[in-house]
């Protein structure tokens, strides 16, 4: 099963060249059943990565291009009056899929953005006084442009907090871009995806993540990292939800590394992606400055 996972990782690396670390973290996020936010300049491949991830997980996915006039009902679905049966009939929106690709999420109005809140956290949607559960598993993979770009409105802190990780791909290395250009004629890079997980395997892997062992020492270290953010006034404090997210992400990282226990390195690897957007919502994803400060200044005795 783990071998399958590694094959997927490899084929993803074929699609997005030269970014093994980000790909591993993205997989990590999904194995930890968390929502993923990709932030980058346009054209750096974030939508490609989102597609590739959704594809390779073997899940049904729907893509929504967020625009400023997108309405909440466009996401959740609407009830339509069926003249024949003389009844309202609920037409489910794109949110009712296993993976929702929310492209350029920060171009939508805050109202629409917050419509996603309930879906992301509760995994259910309430419309017309009725609560409808979302399919399982349910992921939101969102992409956004940096905040300074025209026509963007920032995601509120509460919504940012619901994304397990925020990742940034950044510019490819010269060699990787060289390869990219060489392969240009061969069509979409998504064709390199050879492997797909099936839904059962994914669920199985997610259960394995829960079963990863965590020693007291690691939890102590994790808590001292979180505590460090709470005792300073140049950053927002990390919430218990953040520490839970950090632990799950660390566990998933351990699983991908082929271990059945979490080590300090797992925590340190996932910490910037999990913590940075919670420490400073206005920062760009490429900067890890605050989380790096915490990592460097917090004593790691392990």
């Amino acid at each position: 099963m783990l071998a399958q996972l590694h094959q997927i990782e490899q084929s993803l690396n074929q699609v997005i060249l030269g970014k093994p670390q980000q790909i591993r973290l993205a997989l990590c996020c999904l194995l930890a059943e968390g929502h993923l936010l990709l932030e980058d300049l346009p054209g750096l491949g974030k939508t490609t990565l989102a597609h590739a991830l959704a594809n390779s997980l073997g899940l049904t996915y729907r893509r929504v291009q967020f625009t400023s006039d997108l309405l909440p009902a466009d996401l959740t679905g609407i009830s339509i009056y069926d003249a024949r049966s003389q009844q309202f009939h609920f037409q489910p929106g794109p949110v009712f899929s296993q993976v929702l690709l929310a492209d350029e999420i920060n171009r939508a109005s805050p109202k629409t953005q917050s419509a996603l809140l309930e879906a992301m956290e509760e995994r259910q949607v309430s419309t017309d006084g009725e609560t409808r559960p979302l399919p399982s598993p349910f992921f939101v993979i969102a992409t956004q442009n940096p905040l300074f770009h025209a026509g963007t409105s920032a995601l509120p802190e509460s919504q940012l907090d619901r994304f397990l990780m925020r990742l940034s791909l950044g510019f490819p290395a010269r060699a990787a871009e060289h390869q990219l250009l060489l392969d240009d004629s061969k069509g979409s890079r998504l064709q390199f995806l050879s492997q797909q997980l099936d839904s059962d395997t994914l669920q199985n892997l997610q259960q394995q993540v829960s079963a990863i062992k965590v020693s007291d020492a690691v939890i102590d270290y994790l808590l001292s990292l979180v505590d460090a953010s709470r005792s300073r006034n140049d950053m927002l404090p990390l919430s218990p939800r953040a520490s839970k997210a950090l632990l799950r992400a660390s566990k998933a990282h351990a699983l991908i590394a082929g271990r059945d226990f979490v080590i300090a390195d797992d925590v340190q690897q996932v910490f910037p992606s999990v913590a940075e957007h919670r420490l400073d919502p206005r920062s760009s994803a490429a900067s890890h400055s605050l989380s790096q400060i915490i990592l460097e200044q917090t004593l790691c005795p392990l």
Partner: protein, 645 residues
């Protein structure tokens, strides 16, 4: 590891060394101090010089030349000072070349040793504190060389370390046996202070103008009245017509006759004296001393002297009886009848007075009357006298200080056929009620006479006749305002300085009693007291031990160990390099870096890392056992791991 010394550290070393050279001034000839300072200054030109110059060779040649000079002057300086000089030479020439932390080791130890040597030369509290401060400063610099970067934490740690060693200091001070010194400290050619062996007319006036301390006295019992406080220091028996000199027989150590004082009728006085440095042997005593501490010995004319010239503060215990002094030696009377031919008018007066007096007491009475009725004056600034000093004083100037009256009286008595001699010493003193000690300064210097009557040397103070207040209330009571101003040092006029100076003196007193005076007899007393209280002490100690154990046990119960077992194991075995681990780095990452620096141990480190991770993070007991074993087996290899700077 190559660590360059910062400018600041080198300047600190220079400062300490210069301070030491200043402190050890007594052991160093002036030319040698100058050479050392020049050599020290040579560091800067040498640093600028081209790298081709063989600096070590140069310094060695210079040092060898200086050593030769030292050897030549060895006879003058003595072996002890020679040792100090060599140590200083080595320290200075080390400092001239020093570049790296590695080289500062020997220098630091030599600095510590030299600073400790300074205590041999100084005992006063102020300089002791200064030396202590220098020691701490050296320690701070030593610490700074090796400690981590944060400044504040470093001082805190240093303070903690010092605090921890405090009980050891105390225990060493209280319990370490007071051994006799292994070497004899050569007597410095420093100036003799206090009364000299020769008493000129005018020498006491000069002495009285000095404000320095002569000695302190502590009485085991009530304070005797001021009129009894005649501290005898010197007995002058040779007179040449102008000045009085100590007779040579006093240079020899003479056997003491049987104790003759009548201890039943006359009260015994027990007292302790802390004598300041005088660089002479004569000490101070009241009346006839009966019992001696073993640091002093009896001298002729029932005086007390030290075994060596007093070059360090000396404390001794005496028991005296306040009677007339017995005859010490059969020749004493004859010695004290010798007259000089220089004062013919005085001789005539003496004969005239003797004719109408039938006893020594009557003659004394006549002389008193003479001083009282004729216009004689008491003054701090008497006119200068010629060679026939007694004639000039008695018949012309008629103005004099205590030594004038004493020597005139003694000459008059001798001319009249009564053995008499001049005694030099101190009269009175300032009693400090709160601190319970008597402070005697040079300004209390005094001269009086002893004449032989009824088989004993009776004391008579002519000053008490001419200026009775001098004896009853002290010198200030007799002097005019001008003369008082002349005596007082400028700073003493300001009461705040006066107060501070007095407080410092009291502090100095406690220092000399409790710290310097803590000798083997006091140590013995302490042991005796400890022994007497041994049962209670043992019980208290056991109780304390139980409380401590309980406290620790409770603490241990309450809070788990700070780190898990594998972490502790690794920290212990990698102690040599673990301090280089950045705070945020985890151990596995650190080991990866460590492997880069120690390629030979890469496989061992890999194995350790694997076991460590399984033991700590997976809680694998088997891995923990293997880790313990592996660490134990390779502890020597691990202790030698390299870390480049």
């Amino acid at each position: 590891m190559l660590v360059l010394l910062s400018r600041q550290v080198i300047l600190s070393f220079c400062f300490i060394l210069v301070a030491i050279i200043g402190l050890l001034q007594q052991a160093l000839p002036l030319w040698y101090s100058a050479i050392l300072l020049l050599l020290l200054l040579y560091r800067w030109p040498l640093q600028q010089s081209s790298p081709k110059v063989n600096k070590l060779k140069r310094i060695n040649i210079v040092a060898a030349l200086i050593l030769l000079l030292l050897l030549i002057s060895l006879k003058q300086s003595g072996i002890f000072h020679f040792m100090l000089q060599i140590l200083l030479l080595s320290a200075v020439s080390r400092l001239v070349l020093i570049r790296q932390r590695h080289d500062s080791h020997q220098l630091l130890w030599v600095l510590y040793f030299l600073l400790a040597c300074c205590f041999i030369f100084y005992q006063s509290i102020v300089i002791s504190l200064f030396i202590l401060a220098l020691l701490l400063f050296t320690l701070y610099n030593h610490y700074q060389l090796y400690a981590s970067k944060q400044h504040r934490v470093q001082l805190l740690q240093l303070g903690k370390a010092l605090l921890l060693t405090l009980p050891i200091w105390l225990a060493l001070f209280l319990l370490f046996p007071r051994l006799q010194p292994l070497w004899r400290i050569p007597t410095a050619e420093s100036a003799i202070t206090g009364l000299a062996d020769t008493l000129d007319p005018g020498s006491i006036e000069k002495l009285v103008q000095s404000d320095t301390l002569a000695f302190r006295a502590i009485f085991n019992g009530p304070l005797p009245s001021r009129q009894q406080l005649y501290w005898r220091a010197k007995v002058y028996e040779d007179f040449d017509g102008r000045s009085w000199t100590v007779n040579q027989r006093f240079e020899r150590n003479q056997a003491r006759g049987p104790v003759t004082g009548n201890s039943e009728t006359d009260p015994l006085i027990r007292y302790q004296i802390i004598a300041e440095v005088s660089n002479q042997r004569s000490l101070f005593s009241l009346g006839e001393p009966l019992q001696f501490a073993n640091t002093v010995r009896p001298a002729a004319a029932y005086l007390v002297e030290a075994r060596r010239p007093v070059s360090q503060r000396l404390s001794y215990q005496l028991t005296s009886v306040l009677t007339a002094i017995p005859e010490d030696n059969a020749t004493e009377q004859r010695l004290n009848l010798r007259t000089a031919s220089a004062n013919p008018k005085t001789a005539a007066l003496a004969r005239q007075l003797a004719a109408s007096a039938d006893s020594a007491t009557a003659l004394i009475e006549q002389i008193s009357t003479l001083f009282r009725q004729q216009p004689y004056y008491y003054s701090l600034n008497p006119p200068r006298l010629g060679n026939n000093s007694i004639d000039a004083f008695l018949f012309d100037t008629r103005t004099g200080f205590c030594s004038h009256y004493a020597s005139a009286t003694a000459v008059l008595l001798r001319e009249a056929g009564i053995p008499a001699r001049v005694v030099g010493g101190y009269q009175g003193g300032v009693w400090h009620e709160e601190q319970q000690y008597l402070e005697v300064r040079q300004r209390e210097a005094h001269a009086w006479i002893e004449y032989f009557a009824d088989g004993r040397w009776q004391y008579f103070d002519p000053t008490a006749v001419i200026a009775p207040e001098r004896v009853i209330a002290g010198l200030d009571a007799v002097l005019s305002a001008d003369e008082q101003n002349q005596l007082q040092a400028n700073w003493r006029r300001f009461s705040a300085f006066n107060y501070l100076g007095q407080q410092l003196l009291h502090l100095d007193y406690y220092w000399s009693v409790w710290v310097l005076g803590f000798d083997d007899s006091q140590q013995y007393n302490l042991w005796q007291q400890l022994k007497a209280a041994s049962k209670i002490l043992a019980m208290l100690g056991a109780l304390l031990l139980i409380v401590i154990i309980l406290w620790y046990w409770q603490r241990y119960q309450r809070q788990p160990a700070k780190y898990a077992v594998p972490v502790q194991l690794m920290q212990r075995h990698l102690a040599g390099v673990i301090s280089y681990k950045p705070a945020g780095q985890h151990l596995s990452q650190f080991i990866t870096v460590l492997k880069g620096h120690n390629p030979a141990q890469a496989s061992l480190l890999d194995e350790l890392d694997g076991l460590y991770q399984r033991a700590l993070f997976a809680d694998n007991q088997q891995a923990l056992a293997q880790l313990t074993l592996l660490l134990k087996r390779n502890s020597k290899t691990l202790a030698k791991l390299n870390w480049p700077d």
